[in-house]
Symmetry: C2
């Protein structure tokens, strides 16, 4: 693999999806899979799958199928999944607590190490074993606990302020659930989860006027 390989955002989304299916097959003790079988499972054409895999490395030979363990490792390397990313949640409201309650992130190497809030009623509580800490301690916690990713679950009016604190503390990845776009330096990466955008997309898909010509 070359170091300067870059692929499109759409391909990344497909690769994360392959990874998910591969994990599922792995858990069923499957060792080898063909692009045909994977394509049928996922509703993606086998040729597109082969093209995606070729884009990130060289696996297997035509007609022999793919070794699942190699495939998983290579896609994992590509996506940066083969190491632990420590995360913290900013904002211990409903959504923040929901994310802390979800064990799936820890299982794939993305443990949530703490939640932060300013509400004295919440501070000291534990959610699924994860403590809610006073926001005043954010910066030192990040520095002392090797935190890679900050998850923003705060209200609109303080999102940029929280972002600036995270960036200042050296955070390089922000997972933004705040429904507002944020400004960060070039070396900080942001992934937005915007529920309204997603809902509006569903609404468009359901809008017969345009879909059913």
């Amino acid at each position: 693999m070359e170091k300067d390989k870059t692929v499109s955002n759409t391909t990344i989304r497909r690769l994360t999806k392959y990874y998910r299916y591969i994990e599922e097959l792995n858990s069923k003790n499957v060792k080898i899979v063909s692009s045909y079988t994977l394509g049928k499972m996922m509703g993606i054409s086998p040729s597109l799958i082969r093209q995606d895999f070729n884009a990130i490395g060289e696996f297997g030979r035509q007609g022999h199928g793919y070794q699942l363990d190699t495939l998983k490792q290579e896609i994992g390397n590509f996506l940066g999944l083969n190491k632990v990313h420590n995360m913290i949640v900013i904002g211990a409201g409903n959504l923040g607590q929901t994310l802390a309650n979800y064990d799936g992130f820890d299982k794939v190497g993305f443990p949530i190490k703490a939640l932060f809030d300013i509400n004295p009623k919440l501070i000291g509580m534990k959610i699924n074993g994860v403590e809610i800490i006073d926001l005043d301690n954010l910066k030192s916690f990040i520095k002392n606990n090797n935190i890679d990713i900050g998850i923003l679950c705060v209200r609109k009016h303080c999102v940029q302020e929280m972002t600036d604190i995270l960036v200042d503390a050296g955070i390089k990845g922000i997972w933004n659930f705040s429904a507002t776009d944020i400004n960060v330096p070039d070396d900080v990466k942001v992934e937005n989860v915007n529920f309204s955008n997603s809902l509006f997309t569903l609404s468009y898909l359901m809008n017969d006027k345009y879909n059913l010509a």
Copy 2:
């Protein structure tokens, strides 16, 4: 506008984003906006904005800027936002309750009318004024309350079963938070919100090995 206009998924995501910014400007009593100003706010090139707007209708003349109320209405029509979509949540766990607690959906015409669960401890409770109802009553509730959208917040093992019940009851849109792909007939539209996919994308973006050539 023609009835058979179709645009790409990426454009839809941008249109939903424009809609969000237009609402924000509207709330500040702005009446007219140029593609230049909107582009600067959103970090999108003015020419791409003009191209997107041209794809769905004809607004304004070169150099005169866009009337925000017309723009909002046309994009809203296109996305199917100018009518009410009643929603229900299947699964009243952490995530389901978080969604019910969020007032933002109701404000844009997507009210949550009920949550459904099988847990007798939850049934009868109200979350933000929305009742948790026994799953046994799902089908009749959908028929009697003009429900358009089912939100899936259930565990993997029963996702497809719940999907089939929703489809059977006539639901045409499914907002799927279940981290598993679902099978539906062609006339039922699905929008997936997959937290792991999103997190893996962030991980890729942070993966220096490939990003910084």
